[in-house]
């Protein structure tokens, strides 16, 4: 889809500012009422979804007016989609899609962020969004994990760039492997044949780089005859499940996040969580597992001429309703000793950890600022630990904790599950 195709959506924006806040009924007071990190940090209306939509509509009529401030607006957005959920409570219009397309348009016109260019150059050379040290599958050495490209497996565990290469995050891959082994799942990894899902490249505005990665992955998956893919990374989950489907690349591949898969294993009696993990926790919904993990809806149609913004055939909007919210909570509730207390901003209107949209690379201070707001919210619940389900969230939240000196702990849900088995 090109920006032009969202002209009507952008023109529908009435600058009501609902996009800045969590859904109005959910506001519990003056704290934690904002949904959009960008407007909360940078204040100008241009940084809100409403501002972005109106700039987009203006650009379609008058041409792109590239200035440093405009590019600052464009790249200081995690594309977390919270704006769309709040807007779509009342309005029938696309929000995140035109904002994403605006960034794509900037990219096509060569108006990129040099820090992001560097990351994408690295991706093209190494197949990774993070610096590469050693081989992708080195973390699995000695763990007796099957090579899915050589042996028949029921489940392919797509590990992801950060979990594969970051020494501090490899623990998550090991936890997942231990859980799957304990449950007797016939799974494997692709090792060096695995490459970046491309999801973060897409968020950064590099559609071609994303598509190249997606094609490589699907080629490998088809060759391996894999029917089910499990990922521990929310970015990877959204890429395989939603973005690949959006671009007709997914086929009939079943894509599951590890929390969904563990939830199934527990409910099927294949995984027993017996050991007590005494911990008061709160849960952070990763954007791309939650609201942006909602399945893609294929649709094409035309606006029906007349008084309403309606289409033939009717358009079903992705409003964040069908994201993955309950499985991680059910898993947490299954762990003996874990007590879950919810934050104010959860599920479809969860506050972003700050890591999305390439912000960790283009403006790490903003990413950490965003994460610090989440840490404050987590602390307000009285929890000892903040649990999430994505390595990017865990990394960014930990950086915020380091910066603020908080004693709050951050865990991925798989770390707690591993402790309980």
């Amino acid at each position: 889809m090109a920006l032009e195709q969202y002209k009507g959506d952008m023109e529908m924006c009435c600058r009501c500012s609902a996009c800045k806040f969590i859904p109005m009924q959910k506001i519990k007071g003056s704290e934690f009422s904002y949904a959009c990190p960008s407007i909360a940090r940078y204040n100008y209306h241009a940084y809100s979804a409403g501002g972005r939509m109106n700039i987009g509509a203006h650009a379609l009529k008058n041409g792109m007016n590239y200035t440093p401030k405009l590019l600052d607006v464009v790249y200081n957005c995690q594309l977390c989609g919270a704006c769309g959920v709040s807007c779509n409570y009342a309005m029938d219009m696309e929000v995140l899609e035109p904002i994403t397309e605006f960034r794509m348009k900037c990219n096509e016109d060569g108006k990129t962020d040099t820090k992001l260019d560097k990351v994408i150059d690295g991706l093209k050379k190494t197949g990774s969004m993070v610096p590469v040290k050693g081989k992708r599958g080195d973390w699995a050495t000695g763990l007796k994990i099957k090579d899915a490209t050589k042996e028949k497996v029921d489940v392919l565990f797509h590990v992801g760039c950060l979990t594969s290469y970051d020494p501090a995050m490899q623990k998550l891959a090991k936890s997942i492997a231990a859980i799957l082994q304990k449950a007797g799942v016939n799974f494997g990894i692709a090792g060096d044949a695995e490459t970046c899902c491309g999801g973060r490249a897409y968020q950064m505005g590099y559609k071609d780089a994303f598509l190249a990665q997606a094609k490589k992955n699907m080629e490998m998956i088809k060759k391996a005859g894999v029917k089910t893919l499990v990922t521990g990374c929310a970015d990877g989950y959204q890429a395989f499940k939603v973005l690949y489907d959006q671009f007709d690349l997914k086929g009939d591949l079943e894509v599951l996040h590890i929390t969904e898969f563990i939830d199934r294993l527990i409910k099927a009696g294949k995984l027993k969580l017996n050991k007590k993990v005494n911990l008061n926790v709160t849960y952070h919904d990763p954007c791309r597992l939650g609201r942006l993990g909602e399945p893609w809806i294929h649709w094409s149609g035309k606006k029906i001429p007349g008084d309403r913004f309606v289409f033939d055939p009717p358009k079903e909007y992705r409003r964040g309703t069908k994201g993955i919210y309950q499985p991680p909570r059910d898993v947490l509730k299954s762990i003996p000793g874990v007590k879950l207390t919810e934050m104010t901003r959860i599920m479809d209107y969860s506050w972003c950890c700050g890591a999305g949209g390439g912000v960790t690379d283009s403006n790490p201070d903003f990413a950490v600022w965003t994460a610090q707001k989440r840490i404050e919210e987590a602390i307000s619940t009285g929890a000892e630990a903040l649990v999430t389900a994505c390595p990017w969230c865990e990394k960014t939240l930990n950086e915020a904790i380091k910066a603020s000196g908080s004693s709050l702990k951050v865990y991925d849900i798989v770390e707690l599950v591993e402790r309980a088995i």
Partner: protein, 489 residues
């Protein structure tokens, strides 16, 4: 004309480099014009300093809050008050809250509900400033408009800080009229061009008793929230009546008996907007409800302070409805629908569904006055909508209007609007013509609509108020730097 380097530097010295921009690329976010600059003051002192600089440089300014569209002339300095978003005080004993302009109603309401209070959230919606003056769903309980402002802090167009009422003589916000100066007529003027110039930087708003829960037990996901249970001693119903006369009679009786927490004269189309999650569903539900209602109607919320109080109010309500042949809409009796209407209509969180969702725009004519008379005017305005509906230029809402009584219900607001696609030039023109014609009719029939004009025509009918107002404005704003007033949305 852009700011000179010297002018830009002077403003930058006040608010900091991060809080001023003259970058043209971001201006369409606010409005399709070339502002001289966007400035984000962080407190009253910065607002004052900016306003003084505007006078020094003879630059016009206008404050803005959460950002609804407006009409902004070129070269204006836009004071975006986004950084002024603090609740200063919630005074439970004296029942008021002091807020800065960018505190939205949803934030303040959530805070005060925890403490057993509510306040007058305006019909524009809970996404708007809590300082906004005007009317809303809760008017029977909270009254409306300028009755809800106590002391106000105001930066005049020349950059003086005026503190009205009690704040003018002590550090207290409990009264807008004294001890200390009462300038209510200036601060809360409403008739165009009498929109107060300058910038409101803080205001105390009245709080009222809230019989409902500290927070609604909401479940589900947007856009379909429901309540896990109807809060104790609360009830929502929609009643339709066989005639306007019977509806009005029931409405005034309910007002006089003071039993309704809320009485909102919704039409069936607006109820359909509230309870549906998309345009297509709304059309289906409206068609169904149009058959279900017997004529005009209203939406009612009862809130009891005890079981007995609730039962008493319910009994009175049912008696009055029965005496006027009212019929309860079965759709709203469904607890799922009732629950979400209770929440939405006290938290005023579906105004956008009612207005913008259909086509992206609406033009409205609000009339203040005696309800039974303004309803008669609105019936005529509704009939004038019918040709536009037939041509498919505006959304079919049955030509309906809506409105509600304030306090005991004699005075009230009646409003009628047309929803349309603003990209459709024919529809836009037809709606503008309708608005102009019906506003003119309101004027000639001696009603008061804020859309009336021009001033030289309506002024003589209103004791030449416009001449006096212009003199006041000139005295307050000798440099003419605050042309559009400080009204906040």
């Amino acid at each position: 004309m852009a700011l000179t380097k010297e002018q830009y530097k002077a403003f930058e010295d006040v608010v900091g480099a991060e809080n001023i921009s003259d970058d043209k690329a971001i201006m369409p976010a606010y409005y399709n014009t070339d502002f001289a600059a966007i400035i984000l003051p962080g407190n009253t002192a910065e607002v004052q300093a900016c306003v003084k600089l505007c006078n020094k440089f003879k630059r016009q300014f206008r404050p803005i809050c959460t950002g609804w569209s407006g009409m902004f002339p070129k070269d204006l300095i836009l004071l975006d008050l986004r950084r002024m978003n603090h609740i200063i005080e919630i005074n439970e004993k004296n029942m008021y809250a002091v807020v800065e302009p960018y505190v939205i109603s949803a934030e303040l309401q959530a805070e005060v509900m925890k403490r057993g209070f509510n306040f007058c959230v305006k019909g524009a919606g809970t996404n708007c400033s809590a300082m906004l003056r005007g009317h809303g769903h809760l008017d029977q309980t909270t009254s409306g408009d300028d009755r809800n402002h106590l002391a106000i802090e105001w930066v005049t167009p020349e950059g003086e800080i005026v503190r009205s009422g009690a704040l003018g003589s002590a550090d207290e916000w409990f009264c807008g009229d004294g001890p200390g100066p009462s300038i209510r007529a200036i601060l809360t003027s409403a008739v165009p061009p009498g929109v107060t110039p300058g910038v409101f930087t803080k205001a105390a708003v009245k709080l009222y008793h809230w019989p409902g829960p500290a927070a609604y037990p909401i479940q589900g996901h947007s856009p379909k929230y429901t309540l896990s249970e109807i809060p104790p001693n609360m009830m929502a119903r929609y009643y339709s009546f066989p005639s306007v006369e019977k509806m009005w009679n029931a409405e005034i009786k309910l007002g006089e008996n003071e039993i309704c927490y809320e009485l909102m004269g919704f039409n069936a189309a607006m109820v359909a907007c509230n309870i549906t999650t998309c345009n297509e569903e709304e059309e289906v539900v409206f068609a169904k409800m149009s058959k279900e209602v017997q004529g005009p109607g209203f939406f009612v919320i009862i809130g009891g302070n005890s079981r007995d109080d609730f039962e008493f109010k319910k009994k009175v309500l049912e008696q009055i409805v029965k005496e006027n042949d009212g019929k309860s809409l079965k759709t709203v009796e469904n607890p799922e629908i009732e629950g979400i209407l209770l929440c939405q209509c006290t938290r005023i969180s579906a105004s956008i569904r009612e207005t913008f969702r259909a086509g992206g725009a609406f033009n409205s004519i609000p009339i203040m006055g005696q309800r039974d008379l303004t309803i008669k005017w609105a019936i005529g305005a509704g009939k004038a909508k019918e040709p536009l509906i037939k041509k498919g230029l505006i959304v079919d809402d049955g030509g309906a209007f809506f409105g509600w009584g304030v306090e005991q219900g004699h005075l009230g607001k009646t409003e009628i609007f047309c929803k349309f696609d603003p990209q459709n030039a024919e529809a836009k023109k037809a709606v503008e013509d309708w608005q102009k014609e019906q506003s003119h009719r309101a004027f000639t029939e001696r009603y008061f609509a804020s859309t009336m004009g021009p001033q030289d025509e309506i002024g003589p009918a209103l004791m030449n108020y416009n001449l006096w107002w212009n003199k006041i404005v000139h005295a307050l704003d000798p440099n003419g730097v605050s042309p559009e007033g400080g009204a906040l949305v």
